[in-house]
Symmetry: C2
């Protein structure tokens, strides 16, 4: 790779690394429409302007930087997101945006003609859903799979409406909604992302085949509050016991099914040391390679639990565009082609435009954590691969 | 019982029932030094003044109402507390205070001479420890078993210091501490309390023999935050699994030991639906009839857990004053004499003065819950019993 491109790449990382980093954990808290998110967005705008790209914010708050005529149509779009989960890592999201700018730099350095197709770099807003509970808000709104009124009415844990948070950050919440004009101008979307499960083995880069179907279910375990120091065991209705049995059963059933099941979030009432809980609410995240496996797994977990269960979200399997994915894999010379359990904006866009993903190796498999890491050499291999497939497509 | 006494008793309940009641749950939130607590305290003062009693607040914020000369010494003291756990019931605490006033009314109605011993009614502050995490703060400070500097530095969940909360409520936090003068003037303390475990059977009233040794232990289960959708089961370090196994093991070990073990409070980091937890912190409340059983039980639970465990509090067994307890039981004609697993101000005072407790039947065994209940007939039997033992002691 050309030295200047590498230097730009490292410079972009240096600028982004301190933004929204929480000292106590070393993780990132770049939640949608917060100050930290605003700093990330200002950084994106600056990158666009200093490269002489056409900068714009679409009606849903997603940021775009265009090389070539935005109105020409059949554009090749690449990018990802800059927001994070609570105490997330540095790479999930930003690697795709930084790599997009670096890949464009590489193409321009080597004087690649675009063949008339415009190239756009995108930062989709609110991908993680960390603040308002719904993931991929920016891309969902654009694709018309999230109703604007519903989005505006989402609240964060302090009760702030998404619509109000948007407005305070300077974006009109009544402009949001399906953006057919913009979708119609996209010929293909390619998102580069750090791989999140140690699945690439010896390969620094891979191509995504599919996103596993996945969903979240709320389990309400009902019991009866009582004094922990005086209530005989046989008189108790302690929902913590049913919760504990469900956690262990979910793990075992997931193992048997070759799938994933996780309880990572819990809320207990009254949550007092000397009080038997009256209610335990816990959220199951479950994913599997196909819908039948997932359905069966979740059904088994629910039946054993005795809880009152509500499905809060569900995303069916996403198969990425076969011709595009094959073209990328061929261009990159036989890299691994693999599915992922994680949702992405690419998964949303796949329903509207030909979409593909590149993965960069994650040596530890750790993600959504301050410990998330990718080797610089692998990241640079990712930039090279992205530049190569963009060159092929343009 | 004399009609007027019953009417006063019902009147006192009617006045107290709305104070600090949380409509959504029907439970009480009368936490130390809050507005609701202040209303309870104003009610106590009013009860004292309208009966012509000598009202005072001691240096630790406990309220006293004296019938007879407070300085005479060898006083008989009765009472309890008015604060509550989060969403607690109406009886835990207030029943002892209301019954104390009603018993005094009964003694005065029937013209019982006091034999020269003064009678005091007390409302101990912050018995439940719901706000600052330490139970029986008022009685502990008085007895010198809680260091004043340590008490002032306790914080509630909003970070407010106990010292500051006291001061805002109009009490000097630098006045608190061991009160030997006051302790020296107490001849005996008798606390009436609702029973909390359905242990009285057919008897409306019983006498306490002892308080089980009890304590709380913090369990920190350490793991590694990671993406719930991409991390292979075999690559996970999910502390929720160890927590769940510990909850079930604690219950089983407690059953085998004929003791109690409860996990009712939990805190998870980062507590995200799609994140494997990095840390689960949970609190074990455990109690047994004797210290050896409790030690062995907690040791077994800790060893299996793999957690980092910190003992946050421990109260050794309390045996109530044998002559006093036998005198009460004889006076009441063979009522049940039984231990309890719950801590009380009486347990604190027992180390300093002859102390006893009366229990009023709890038909469901439910306590620390909005559903806590005692039948009015049983409560009135409690007043009669309390009046009878006071008459005997005075």
């Amino acid at each position: 790779m050309i030295d200047q491109v590498e230097e730009n790449f490292r410079g972009m990382w240096r600028e982004l690394l301190p933004v929204g980093r929480y000292e106590a954990t070393g993780g990132y808290r770049r939640h949608a429409w917060t100050t930290a998110d605003g700093e990330c967005r200002a950084w994106f705008r600056e990158q666009a302007l200093k490269r002489g790209l056409t900068y714009e914010v679409d009606r849903n708050g997603n940021q775009w930087a265009w090389y070539g005529d935005p109105a020409a149509g059949d554009a090749i779009v690449t990018g990802s997101h800059l927001d994070s989960v609570p105490d997330g890592g540095a790479y999930d999201g930003p690697l795709g945006v930084v790599s997009a700018f670096a890949a464009l730099d590489a193409l321009r350095e080597r004087g690649t003609a675009t063949g008339g197709r415009p190239l756009a770099i995108v930062n989709f807003g609110d991908e993680e859903g960390a603040r308002f509970g719904v993931a991929c808000v920016g891309s969902r709104l654009m694709a018309g799979v999230l109703e604007p009124g519903h989005a505006r009415a989402l609240r964060d844990q302090d009760g702030v409406l998404l619509g109000d948070a948007m407005e305070r950050a300077g974006h009109d919440p009544f402009a949001i909604g399906r953006d057919d004009d913009r979708l119609g101008r996209i010929g293909a979307y390619v998102e580069l992302h750090v791989e999140q499960g140690r699945n690439l083995g010896d390969a620094p880069v891979g191509v995504a085949s599919a996103i596993w179907p996945h969903g979240r279910w709320r389990f309400d375990f009902h019991g009866e509050a009582n004094h922990a120091g005086t209530t005989r065991l046989e008189d108790r209705r302690d929902p913590m016991l049913a919760y504990a049995a469900t956690v262990l059963n979910a793990r075992e059933q997931a193992r048997l099914a070759g799938a994933l099941a996780t309880f990572g979030k819990i809320s207990v009432e009254p949550n007092g040391t000397n009080a038997i809980a009256s209610r335990v609410t816990a959220w199951l995240d479950s994913r599997a390679a196909d819908s039948d496996t997932l359905d069966m797994l979740v059904k088994e977990i629910i039946e054993q639990s005795g809880a009152e269960v509500t499905r809060e979200s569900f995303t069916p399997v996403v198969e990425f565009d076969r011709p595009l994915r094959d073209r990328l894999a061929a261009r990159l010379g036989g890299v691994p082609v693999l599915p992922t359990g994680a949702g992405h904006d690419a998964g949303i866009l796949a329903s509207a435009v030909p979409t593909a993903m590149l993965f960069v190796r994650n040596p530890t498999g750790v993600s959504h954590s301050p410990a998330e890491h990718a080797e610089e050499a692998d990241c640079l291999a990712g930039v090279t691969a992205l530049a190569s497939v963009l060159e092929d497509l343009l």
